[in-house]
Amino acid sequence: MKKNWPLWEVFVRSKNGLEHRHFGSLHAADEAMALENARDVYTRRNEGVSIWVVESRHITASNPENNGELFEPAQDKVYRHPTFYDLPDDVKHM
């Protein structure tokens, strides 16, 4: 019976000091091959100093249909921002 190579998501740190960022995906039989393929597919021109791979099926993603209940509550919480607070003009360093 034929089994296809699973899909992996690739995250690359482009230089130390920066976070790993999603670069794309690829197919590979196992994690070692996923790393090697990621090196060849996504970092042919020194785009990275570190690679993470994770099998795509292990990622849990939020559903855009629920974006309202997930993200709207943050919209009316203006008091979480510094500009919400009234200070006299002559206050310095704040």
């Binding site: 089994k3 296809n4 190579w5 899909l7 794309g24 060849d40 042919r44 855009p64």
Partner: protein
């Protein structure tokens, strides 16, 4: 969902695109948007993959190590482009296997240009200069297309393409400044690749069925004829620098329009090639299918090994 609900979802969807918002894979999208994108992105991916074949033909016969490493790197990039695009396409819910199956069965199309043979070393120059040049003109506007994964793949592709075109032009430039035979070889390559390169930018606007919808979805930002004109306008002065003659007796600068006038394109030839009757259609598809089929045991072995390793890990844990 009722028809009315779908209508209102579609209106919202179109408005988002008009506002330059991106569509991401899990967002709601009209079925037609999904299908059109699967078709276009996969055709694009197939073109990158089949596009390796005409150039792969010359890797072992490159005239110097410098040329060989450059050509190898370019062909490897094209493999990369194919892979970026296949994975962008898969986010729309189609599997890699289905996409390959569509290519191998002849159901899916790829760019007609790759069905022409590469007869001499100068063809490596002409392809980089003209074919990659035309591809860049096609691809740059796609960096801001509406479907997020496609746009992101195109940004990466476009960054890499400029080296392809420059290495091609350099090959032509060297040949044109070499012996008379070398220059003749360059001219012959231009003669054979010029018209297919113009056709590569697609049928004329009058015959192009997808343009209007594709414009709305930003799958197209300029029409085929506009892209073709842009390609001609920027390529003619480059041919002048090479000292080569473009094989079109009607080619003439038009002071009024600020563009070059050019001769009639043999669209019969284009449609013949698209329908599978180009000089190399069979050869390309056979090479592609052969590579896939002969590699099957490697893919199976890698999968069997991976399963064995992960079973071992589980045994250790238990």
């Amino acid at each position: 969902m009722s028809e009315e609900q779908i209508k209102s979802l579609e209106a919202d969807f179109d408005a988002r695109i008009a506002r330059d918002e991106k569509i991401e894979p899990k967002d709601w999208m009209p079925e037609k948007y999904r299908k059109t994108h699967i078709r276009q992105i996969s055709q694009h991916a197939h073109s990158e993959i089949v596009g390796m074949l005409p150039e792969g033909n010359w890797i072992t016969r490159a005239p110097s190590l410098r040329r060989k490493v450059a050509l190898l790197a370019k062909v490897q990039d094209e493999a990369g482009h194919g892979l970026y695009l296949y994975s962008a396409c898969e986010t729309l819910g189609v599997s890699r296997d289905e996409l390959y199956e569509q290519l191998h069965s002849g159901k899916a199309k790829y760019s007609s240009i790759f069905n022409y043979p590469t007869l001499t070393w100068a063809d490596m120059g002409a392809i980089g200069w003209l074919v990659d040049g035309a591809a860049i003109i096609n691809q740059v506007p796609l960096c801001s297309t509406s479907f997020g994964p496609y746009a992101r793949a195109m940004v990466r592709v476009c960054k890499e393409e400029s080296f392809h075109q420059r290495q091609g032009f350099e090959i032509m430039y060297k040949l044109c400044n070499g012996t008379p035979e070398q220059k003749e070889m360059a001219q012959d390559a231009l003669n054979r690749w010029w018209w297919p390169s113009l056709m590569m930018l697609g049928p004329t606007d009058a015959e192009s069925v997808h343009t209007e919808q594709s414009m709305k979805w930003k799958l197209k930002r300029k029409t085929n004829d506009e892209l073709r004109q842009q390609f001609i306008d920027q390529t003619v002065p480059q041919a002048d620098i090479l000292g080569l003659k473009i094989p079109d007796t009607d080619l003439k600068w038009n002071e009024e329009t600020g563009h070059y006038n050019f001769g009639e394109i043999q669209w019969d030839e284009f449609w013949q090639v698209v329908k599978g009757h180009g000089p190399c259609n069979k050869e390309r598809l056979n090479a592609r299918k052969g590579a896939w089929e002969k590699g099957a045991w490697v893919r199976d072995a890698a999968m069997a090994y991976a399963e064995k390793q992960s079973n071992k890990k589980i045994e250790k844990v238990v």
